[in-house]
């Protein structure tokens, strides 16, 4: 039995309010704990597997349909052909899976009540939030990059039959693939922030989906006044970051610059993680 921890420091006696000291600094143990939590639940692996299968299958089939019809395609179609966009055709399913994973990482703890046990082991809630974000973000970034590279290689392997493939060393290709992985992690972390904010799986998934995919309805509604809201959509940021050929026509008006796209991703992350952290510091 360890000796009772007697810390009768006078300054701490009134510290019933959450302490600010070392707010988000996490220990290795906390990170290990979150890793065990993520790893020990089957739905984590099922979700990632689903993402991989759908993204690969859609990407490969879409690429296949292009290579098969290439000889009969019109010149205009050939000109607008983007070898990466075809391979990444199923990426939205992957994004959905990552977002759901991020939501579940926290919402289930609230729904089961496990969060109370977590907080009694680590009473500083900011640290719990940070540890989860670091581990979740790390896992999703790794998985996202792996998914993006595997899909890229698969797609290019199919395109190489018609010599339509591009290499990682070609201009913009590496950035596009890496940004796809990054984007998957960002979507996952937005899901995580929303899960912490809403504490309810169904609600958080719905809002996450609306924020990422349905907001175009809102921005298109005001398009006749300004294209600025269009450029602030997450999907527009991803379009800019993932395409090798710049877009044309109306799509170009809706696309932000590369720098802006990165800034937008960062701001989305900040806002949603900030909201989640704020809510988590409130009573469970």
């Amino acid at each position: 039995m360890p000796e009772p921890v007697m810390m009768l420091r006078s300054g701490q006696a009134s510290a019933s309010a959450p302490p600010r000291r070392g707010g988000f600094l996490v220990t290795r143990g906390m990170l290990a704990s979150e890793w065990i939590k993520l790893r020990s639940v089957r739905s984590t692996w099922l979700t990632l597997l689903c993402a991989l299968l759908f993204v690969l299958a859609f990407g490969l089939f879409d690429t296949l349909s292009v290579t098969e019809s290439w000889n009969t395609m019109s010149a205009a179609d050939k000109a607008s052909f983007d070898p990466l966009a075809e391979a990444f055709a199923g990426m939205q399913i992957g994004e959905l899976a990552f977002g759901v994973l991020g939501v579940l990482a926290i919402s289930v703890e609230y729904e089961t009540g496990m969060i109370q046990t977590t907080f009694s082991a680590v009473p500083r809630r900011g640290k719990v939030f940070a540890a989860k974000a670091v581990v979740g973000g790390g896992v999703m970034l790794t998985a996202g990059l792996a998914l993006a590279f595997v899909t890229f290689l698969g797609g290019q392997w199919m395109l190489s039959a018609k010599n339509l493939d591009v290499q990682l060393a070609d201009p913009g290709v590496l950035r596009s693939v890496a940004c796809t992985g990054l984007y998957l992690a960002v979507v996952g972390l937005i899901g995580y922030g929303l899960g912490a904010l809403i504490r309810h799986t169904a609600g958080a998934i719905s809002v996450m989906f609306a924020v990422i995919w349905l907001t175009y309805g809102a921005t298109h509604a005001v398009e006749k006044w300004s294209y600025l809201p269009d450029r602030w959509l997450l999907v527009s940021a991803y379009q800019t970051l993932s395409r090798i050929h710049p877009q044309s026509g109306t799509s170009a008006l809706r696309a932000p610059t590369t720098t802006m796209a990165f800034v937008e991703l960062a701001i989305y992350l900040l806002v949603f993680l900030g909201l989640g952290a704020w809510r988590m510091s409130r009573d469970a």
Binding site: F58, F61, D62, L64, S65, E68, S69, A89, G90, Q92, I93, L96, A97, V100, V103, L104, E111, H200, T201, A202, G203, I205, S206, F209, A210, W213, L214, G217, A218, H220, A221, V222, E223, K224, W225
Partner: protein, 276 residues
């Protein structure tokens, strides 16, 4: 028919006939969960506001629009631009109507009160269906009238009496109903909110790559995607160019919609008769 054999074999239809008590119980369940109607209410608000925004931007920018933009102008489409949020909320409502009972274990209490599971399912489906149909119609007619009022300042509005308009407005409401019931079926099949909602939104919005993959063989898969069905039944002008090939005819659209409804409700009914 003997008493022993009558339980499982009694007419399939009869085992799905809910009594008034079961119906009322399901109505109370749906009504008493605040999050359900709050989310639907919120989505309705968003949908109506976006419709008003889109149509008022049309009206205020009409003078400076290009001839091409004017030709593509769709007075109905713009007042329905926010309906996607309605679809999401209605679909989620359908999922939650059943999945939460499984998550909380409430379903066991429900089944011990009414052991004929088919009746529980039918009662739930009926209540959720009627509620979504009524709310859906309110939403689309509200969006329609507000949107047209915005357009009337530039005399761009259409009227219910104009050809096809009433059908389109009704179809938009019907679509909300079908989406709700697909969500309901998915909730019964998967018994898990997160999975069912993810599957629903993937089907509604993210499935188009499936169609595109098969486009060079046949446009039929594209045409029976919910996304394109919705497009077909809520459109007043015919589409042009490549997208037009993916949009089904009205007959195909309505019959596939009915097929979706039947398939998902039937799968849910089959699944609910399995052990909870």
């Amino acid at each position: 028919m003997t008493a022993q054999s009558s339980l499982p074999q009694r007419g399939v239809l009869r085992s799905f006939l809910p009594g008034r008590g079961v119906l009322r119980s399901e109505w109370i369940k749906l009504r008493s969960v605040r999050s359900t109607y709050l989310s639907v209410l919120f989505a309705t608000l968003v949908a109506v506001v976006l419709g008003v925004l889109a149509t008022s931007s049309d009206a205020s920018n009409w003078a400076t629009m290009t001839a091409q933009d004017k030709a593509q102008f769709d007075p109905l489409g713009d007042s329905f631009i926010g309906l996607i949020f309605g679809e999401l909320a209605f679909g989620v409502l359908g999922v939650l109507a059943i999945s939460t009972e499984y998550r909380t274990g409430m379903i066991r209490a429900t089944f011990s009160a009414v052991p004929q599971r088919g009746r529980v399912y039918a009662a739930k489906a009926l209540v959720v269906g009627v509620v979504s149909l009524v709310l859906g119609m309110l939403l689309v007619f509200g969006s329609f009238f507000l949107g047209q009022a915005m357009l009337s300042s530039k005399h761009l509005e259409v009227h219910l009496g104009d050809p096809g308009v009433l059908r389109v407005v009704l179809s938009a409401g019907l679509y909300l109903f079908v989406v709700t019931m697909i969500g309901f079926g998915l909730g019964a099949i998967l018994r898990h909110s997160a999975g069912a909602i993810a599957a629903l939104v993937a089907m509604l919005w993210l499935a188009y790559p499936i169609g595109r993959v098969l486009d060079h063989l046949s446009y039929l898969p594209s045409r029976i995607l919910l996304f394109n069905i919705a497009d077909a039944i809520t459109r007043t002008h015919a589409a042009t160019g490549k997208p037009a090939l993916r949009i089904p005819s009205l007959e195909l659209a309505y019959s596939s919609l009915a097929l979706y409804l039947v398939v998902f409700l039937a799968l849910g009914a089959w699944r609910i008769s399995r052990d909870a």
